[in-house]
Structure formats: C-alpha cells, structure tokens
C-alpha cells in the first residue's frame, strides 16, 4: 500500500461540536413538530377523551426545543471566543477568496479533477453563513409569532417589528414555514458534501465534528485560520490515536 503522510490539525472546540449536535437534533425535532402544528395529523379516535394527538403537546415540544436551541447557541459563542478554529469565516474581504471559490466550484462541477486542500473550503464557509441566516430568519419569525400572545410584553416589543416589516402575521407564518424547508434542503446538501469529503477526498469532515481534529494528507491553504498553540493538543492526541497502516502522523510534511 502506498504510504501517505498525514498531519493533524485541531480545528473545532468541544463547545462548537456539542452545539452542532444539539442543532442537528433541534432542527429535526423543530421541523417535524412544525409540520404537525401547521397541519395537525388526522386523529383516529373520535371521542374527545381518547385523542391520540395533542396539538398542545406538540406546540410545547416545538417551543421548548426552540428555547434549548437558542440557549445552546451560547456554546457556539463561547467556542467562537476561545478557539480560532471555531471562526472559519468566509473571507469575503480577501481577493483570493473568490478565486478559491471558483476553483472549488469548478471541481464540484467536474470541470477540474480536484481542488486545493482546505480546513474548510471557501464554498462551505459561505454555505454555513447562509445556514445561519436561515436560522436567524426562523428565530425572528418564530418569536414574532410566539410572543404575540402578549402584545404588550417587553420581550414582544423586541420581535413585533418582524410582523410589520413582513406585512402581517400571516406572511410571518409562511416565511417561517418556507424557510424551514430551505433548511432541510441545506441539510441534505450538507450531509452529502461532508460524507463525500470524508470518504472521497480524505478531508475528515465527518470525523472532525466528533473528534475536533482533521487529519489531512495535503497541506491546507487556510492553515493560518487555526491556532498554532493548539498543536500541542494534537500532539497529545497522536499518542493515543492508533496509527493505521500507511498513515504516520507527522506534524511537518515539509521536504516531502
């Protein structure tokens, strides 16, 4: 077997990883309960005392999970503050960002054999910004509807403008519903892309969201985006990670 030298990069803090999986669970639960609130399932029992489907319960699950999701965001913020690798923004303000995006896009369109190696490629970076925009829309429209049971409350005043901007609460309902579907479409694309990157390009996209580290055969262009101090951490990891056949974990691939 051909010997490939790989190096370890510590990218995601535990806070980001935990947040990510809470987000996954939240989105699934919110989506399913949301559909059921919009269009409650038919009930089989006709006796009111024997209802199998409580819309009240489903709504409460939806609201509770929404709050948990929102609360979990604090983890993301904390990770963002303490760890450079949690801040893999799209560098819109850099000229090379666009050239790199084109490079990656051409590869995904099969017009190039491969694209340069990244810790997170520029196209992915942009797509995560899009996801957060969609989630923010859900957040604002959701609370605008939820809190309006008490139009006078202070918390309501923070969100009531959404209904005005969108032109009525009816519109808020359907923006919330349409955007939920866009998030699902994003999720399908996201799951495919990370699996593809993991198993076809060896970019450890999936495993890094569990382990926090990426083990790459190629030197990533955006290496500077992670904190070099964390490399000690990676060294420690090296000791207990079993080194597979043909994979030696070497920090410096220089000279290769």
């Amino acid at each position: 077997m051909k010997k490939v030298q790989r190096e370890i990069f510590y990218v995601f803090s535990p806070f980001l990883r935990v947040f990510h999986w809470i987000m996954v669970a939240s989105i699934i639960i919110l989506f399913v309960t949301g559909l059921l609130i919009t269009k409650p399932a038919g009930i089989l029992a006709t006796e009111p005392t024997a209802t199998s489907m409580s819309v009240d319960l489903i709504r409460n699950i939806h609201f509770t999970v929404a709050y948990i999701f929102l609360a979990a965001f604090i983890l993301k913020v904390y990770g963002f503050i303490i760890n450079k690798g949690d801040r893999l923004f799209p560098h819109f303000w850099r000229g090379y960002f666009y050239a790199q995006t084109v490079d990656v896009a051409l590869h995904y369109m099969f017009l190039r054999n491969e694209h340069a190696s990244y810790l997170r490629n520029p196209l992915a970076r942009s797509s995560y910004v899009l996801l957060y925009v969609l989630v923010a829309i859900e957040f604002f429209t959701g609370f605008a509807m939820y809190l309006m049971t008490e139009p006078d409350a202070f918390s309501t005043q923070l969100f009531a403008w959404v209904n005005v901007v969108l032109g009525g609460e009816m519109i808020t309902h359907y923006v919330h519903h349409y955007v939920a579907w866009f998030i699902i479409l994003f999720a399908i694309g996201h799951i495919y892309m990370v699996i593809r990157a993991e198993f076809m390009e060896g970019e450890s996209e999936v495993s890094s969201m569990f382990a926090g580290t990426k083990i790459l055969a190629h030197h990533p262009l955006d290496e500077d985006d992670v904190d070099p101090d964390e490399l000690d951490n990676a060294d420690r990891l090296k000791r207990w990670t079993n080194v597979g056949e043909g994979i030696s974990k070497i920090r410096n691939v220089g000279g290769n």
């Binding site: 409650p40 359907y174 349409y178 579907w181």
Partner: protein
C-alpha cells in the same frame, strides 16, 4: 354657537334620575373596556365635560360599519348619538341633505376648529385625482383633508379607513388606501374590522369623547383594550385545537360537534379583535361560533390572503408548500446521489491517470 350640554345636564333636562345617570356611567365604563375603579372618573367627566362635537364622514366603502354601529346595544347607538355626543354631520344618519347639509359641515368645521372628533369610514380613492369617490361635488380626499385639519382626534372606523379595504384588493383599480397617509401628523385611532364590533365602535368614540384623549394604542394604532388579543387565544373552541380535534370539512361530524376550524382556514391565530371576548350583538355569537372560520377581517390586506378556506401548507402563492418542499427534497437527494456517482467516476479516472503518470515516471527512472 350655543353652549353645549354636559351628559349630566342632558339627563336632567329629560327628567332622568341621578340613579339612571350613574347606571349609564357604569355601563359606559365597562363598554369602554375600563376597570370598575374608573367609574368615578367617568362620572366626573360626564358631569363636567360638554358633549363633544362629532363629524362623521364616509369615503370609499359599503357603509357596513354603520350597519354594525346602529346595532350597538350597550349603550344603544341612538342613545349615543342623541345624548352622549353632539353628532353634527353624518352622511347616513343625518336628517338633512343637499346644499344646506354640506354648508353645515363647513360651519361646524369652522365653529369647532380644533375641538371636534372626526370619525372616518371608508378608504381614500387616490387614482384619477380621487374622482372614484365623490360626495357633495368634492373628491373624498379633499373633504377628508379639510375636516382632518381642525380635528382634535380622528377615529378610523373599519378596515377600509385603516388600510384600504376590499376595494384596494389587487389590482386596486381605484388606488384605494387607508386614511393614514392623508391626514398629516394627527392623532388617529385605528378601529379595524369589516365591520368593527358595534360595542367597540361606540366604546372608542365614548372614550375619546369623555376623556378628551385617545385610548391606549398598540403599535398599529389600535386601542389595546379591544385589539390586545388574538381571536385564537380567546376562542371558546381553543380547547379543541389544543386537543387536536378539528373539523375537516364544513359538514363533517367534527364541524357538527363544534370542533376547531383551524383546518378550514381559520385566521384566528393571526387576527387581533374582541370577537372572542365580547362577541357580536350583545354577546349572541361571532363567526367562529356560528361555524364559519375567521377570515381575519381586522387584518390589513386580508382581502389578498385568499382563499379563506386554506391555511398553510396549502395556502400561499405557490400552492401546497409541503408537497413542493418534499418534491424539492427528493430532487435534491437524487441530485446529490447523481453527483456522488459522478464523483466516484471522476476519482477513479483521476487515480488511473495518476498511476499512469507514475508508471511513466518509473520508466524514466530506470
């Protein structure tokens, strides 16, 4: 102009007892949506404040709001316009007509400049210089602006006056719009509804008349005491919603049992009004109670949000969004699967090429 009476003076002139007067004040307090602790303030105002002059004008509308208004039972609409306010001008209720009547409007505007309450029903037709709605030889827009200039307070009655009404539904050939943009920086109370609830109409005008100021308003200029709750949150059918018991059609068992009308397109969850609290015609009924889903008639733009019998996911310009969403999800899944297959093919070709070039290199080395 002669000195105007207070409400108390008008009661005495008609030989009504103090007891009757106090009872009237208590009734007024409750219909204005105020707490019982406010009775003394209402009595005080009724004793000392002269009956306010009211000018009531009608624009682009169906006068359905008046039909609602004259059915107010507590107090009787007749009581209100004859005893509680000095109604000087009203297209529909005044006995006078013709030129003397129009002249009286001008006189009233001048005599009570800055003191009268202006009640407006109907939208403003803006296209064609306002020729689509004229009365007394003037476009309504002109009359409105003239009357609004000297008004102490303006009450916009009905969804037409508030936000344009049914005649402003797409494509809106008359360019109808609510009065808000045409009255300058005047205080205005929005009382939407198609029509508003009778007691809400009388309650708002009495509040302005007695206290000389507008009732507390929400962000959309509606009186909080009447528009502070969703119909959905005050609906007596809400327990059926919570339990998941729905009428699926207008004539099924659920409908007969009085279950929730959510699936029939009820707009209760987006509509703010007092239908669920005070209901209509002395608490007799309201649309949901009679088995008809709420159409959200107090909402701006409700006329463009049809069909009224649909909610999400079926409702909306694109059709059933859940079907579209599921279709897109399937298409996306198929798309990424195809992309995956092509990627595998691309990689195998890439590897083959690499191996080939390695071989060539290897050959050169030898």
């Amino acid at each position: 102009m002669e000195k105007r009476e207070t409400m108390w003076e008008s009661y005495r002139r008609r030989g009504l007892s103090r007891r009757t007067f106090i009872k009237g004040c208590v009734a007024l307090t409750s219909l204005m949506g105020l707490s019982s602790g406010m009775v003394s303030k209402v009595v005080e105002a009724a004793e000392t404040k002269q009956l306010p002059v009211v000018i009531w004008i009608h624009g682009h509308e169906c006068t359905g709001c008046d039909e609602s208004f004259i059915r107010s039972a507590a107090p009787l609409a007749s009581d209100l316009i004859l005893n509680n306010v000095a109604l000087e001008y009203d297209h529909l209720l005044s006995a006078g007509s013709g030129e003397p009547f129009e002249e009286h409007l001008e006189k009233t505007i001048q005599a009570y400049n800055g003191k009268y309450i202006l009640a407006v029903e109907g939208a403003v037709a803006t296209k064609g210089s306002g020729i689509y709605c004229m009365s007394g030889g003037h476009p309504f827009l002109e009359t409105l602006q003239r009357a609004a200039k000297g008004a102490a307070a303006i009450i916009a009655y009905g969804t037409c006056a508030v936000s344009g009404g049914i005649q402003s539904a797409a494509p809106n050939p008359t360019g109808s719009a609510g009065i808000g943009h045409f009255i300058g920086a005047k205080d205005v109370v929005n009382v939407p509804g198609c029509p508003p609830i009778p007691e809400v109409m009388t309650g708002v005008v009495m509040h302005v008349a007695l206290f000389g100021k507008l009732p507390p308003l929400d962000s959309q200029g509606r009186p909080k005491q009447f528009y502070g709750n969703r119909i959905h949150d005050t609906c007596y059918r809400r327990p059926f919603f919570d339990a998941g018991l729905f009428a699926d059609s207008y004539d099924d068992a659920g409908s007969k049992a009085g279950w929730c009308l959510y699936k029939l397109g009820c707009r209760g969850p987006e509509t703010y009004n007092s239908c669920g609290n005070i209901r209509w015609f002395q608490g007799m009924s309201y649309p949901v109670q009679s088995g008809a889903p709420c159409i959200g008639c107090a909402n701006a733009n409700f006329w463009n949000q049809g069909p009224f019998s649909d909610r999400l996911p079926k409702y909306g310009p694109l059709g059933d969004i859940d079907k579209i969403g599921a279709g897109l999800a399937v298409a996306t899944t198929a798309g990424v699967a195809a992309h995956g297959v092509l990627s595998v093919y691309q990689r195998s070709r890439r590897d083959a090429e690499a191996a080939e070039s390695d071989e060539v290199k290897g050959g050169e080395d030898k």
